[in-house]
């Protein structure tokens, strides 16, 4: 399946999903948060696509644009096809629907993103800190994170 065909199938399945204009080395689509779960379900279950591996899920903190970029890396062993799905949420109210009902691993990847970047997941079955203690304040991978403990490397 070529990249054009892939985008064609995706827009057919979910009209709100658009090919991303961001530079990326993998085929990339952008989708609004409301349509994420529906799109992901279709990406996995549609026999033409069958993206049944969620390779990675993480987030990027764009401080200047005041956005969180949620990145989902999918792979389809059947078509040997990669796809990156991007979702943008505002930085002051970062809430994304969970996709842990589609891939079990998403539950834990999402917990990691919550722990380090403070993105909240709607309807998540067990949203709590993963690496840090439950009483840790702040989200260390945010660009605005400040901590007196951190040592700067001398110039």
């Amino acid at each position: 399946m070529t990249t054009e065909e892939l985008f064609q199938v995706i827009t057919e399945l979910e009209p709100s999903a658009k090919q991303s204009e961001k530079t990326s080395d993998r085929p990339t689509v952008e989708v609004p948060p409301e349509a994420l779960v529906a799109l992901m379900q279709k990406l996995r279950d549609d026999p033409r696509l069958s993206f049944n591996m969620l390779l990675a899920h993480t987030a990027v903190d764009w401080l200047e644009e005041r956005l969180f970029e949620m990145v989902y890396q999918l792979y389809s062993p059947q078509n040997q096809q990669y796809l990156a799905v991007l979702v943008y949420v505002p930085r002051n109210n970062p809430v994304v629907p969970t996709i842990s009902s589609i891939w079990r691993i998403a539950e834990f990847q999402e917990r990691e993103v919550y722990d380090l970047l403070g993105v909240l997941y709607d309807e998540h079955p067990d949203l709590r800190r993963l690496f840090l203690e439950d009483d840790w304040t702040g989200f260390p991978l945010r660009k605005s994170y400040q901590d007196d403990f951190i040592l700067e490397r001398p110039k």
């Binding site: 080395d25 993480t58 891939w103 709607d122 949203l127 439950d134």
Partner: protein, 386 residues
């Protein structure tokens, strides 16, 4: 909309009361973070009914060293040495993952020689990693001899690598734009000698452990996981392949010179601990085959196309690259703004994803089975926590 943030205390509260006259009650037991069978500082809170496991709650973070934060302040060459310390048993392959992604993004052309050297040292390291996995599995299941056998043979691999690289464990060898040093003049000879030495030893491994009735009983039909569950839990590497999914990046999208080598992907049939154990034995055989085919054909050429002093700038964009390490797929996700340091770096580590399989396959079994399961998953904890 419902966002509900919980804590570990809430998760581990006893909910069920004693039922009937038998007075059985669910209770929680801590396993780790200081426990000899968890290979490090993994903590698992077990919800038990008698000795039967009801639920496994892995608690992480006892070796969370904030590598991703440090990466945001480091150049790409500095990042390479941090990856050594994630999955230290496949440090060369971790270096490769970063180098491969950076090279692809920055359009760095490599010579044939670099690709050959990289493939051979990575396969040597895969062998030594599986030797450790094999030995430690024996130790977890109560047999000390496999540990001694595994480490006896591993020392010889580290000798070969040390002669070229200068390190025994954290190699820092593969760099964006080549490898740090050319191979030692003795390298080819020693690798051939090692292969001749190790092939009969592998049969010895089988004599020692594979046929042993205790090992068979501890591993067969324990922790069975079908392919669909494994995919859903994001498992990769020997864990996924043991569940009958022939997903191996070396075969699917060959990097290095894997495309030139003839080898088979080992897969299991039932997806139990035994299959995960045996897939590793078979992978050692296949690694020997790969090395044998490549070792005589290392072409002449440069071993480094970019001098280490050159700061590599990655053009703006998002880049994802991955390699097959000894434990599964290590993915590297770079968000660059065109500088010599990344804006955001994310490591999709194999052990983080493999770990959660315990929550699916351990419930219903006994605590002893959980030891076999964690041993068969071959977890390296700093790779989970980063």
């Amino acid at each position: 909309m419902s966002v509900n943030i919980t804590t570990l205390d809430e998760r581990t509260r006893v909910t069920s009361e004693a039922d009937s006259a038998l007075d059985t009650e669910e209770y929680f037991v801590n396993m780790g973070p200081q426990h000899p069978a968890t290979h490090g500082v993994l903590r698992m809170v077990l919800k038990l009914d008698g000795e039967t496991i009801k639920e496994v709650i892995p608690v992480l973070g006892y070796i969370h060293r904030s590598i991703e934060k440090i990466c945001e302040h480091s150049t790409y060459r500095q990042i390479v040495h941090l990856t050594d310390r994630m999955d230290y048993l496949s440090s060369i392959m971790n270096n490769w993952a970063v180098s491969l992604t950076v090279e692809k993004a920055a359009n760095i052309e490599l010579t044939e020689r670099i690709e050959y050297i990289r493939t051979i040292v990575a396969e040597l390291e895969r062998i030594h990693s599986h030797q450790v996995a094999w030995g430690v599995m024996g130790m977890d299941l109560g047999a000390f001899t496999p540990f001694l056998y595994g480490f006896r043979d591993r020392e010889l691999v580290t000798d070969i690598l040390e002669e070229t690289i200068g390190a025994r464990l954290t190699m820092n060898y593969i760099q964006p734009g080549g490898v740090m040093f050319d191979i030692h003049p003795n390298f080819v000879k020693k690798v051939k000698e090692y292969i001749a030495y190790f092939r009969p030893k592998l049969d010895e491994y089988e004599d020692l452990m594979s046929g042993n009735p205790i090992i068979q009983q501890r591993l067969r039909d324990v922790g069975t996981m079908d392919g669909e569950t494994a995919l859903s839990y994001g498992a990769t590497g020997p864990v996924l392949r043991a569940s009958r999914v022939p997903y191996d990046l070396r075969k699917i999208e060959p990097y290095g010179v894997y495309g030139k080598a003839d080898f088979n992907v080992a897969i299991g049939t039932a997806g139990d601990c035994w299959d995960r154990y045996y897939v590793r034995i078979e992978e050692m055989r296949q690694s020997i085959r790969i090395i044998e085919q490549l070792i005589d054909n290392i072409p002449e050429g440069k071993f480094m196309v970019k001098k280490p002093a050159v700061k590599i700038k990655v053009p703006e964009g998002r880049y994802y690259g991955h390699v097959e390490t000894a434990r599964g797929v290590l993915g590297v996700f770079i968000v660059s703004q065109g500088k010599d340091i990344p804006y955001r770096m994310y490591f999709r580590t194999p052990n983080f994803h493999n770990l959660w399989c315990t929550t699916a396959i351990a419930p219903g079994g006994r605590i002893g089975d959980l030891v076999a399961i964690t041993a068969s998953l071959d977890l390296v904890i700093p790779d989970i926590d980063r």
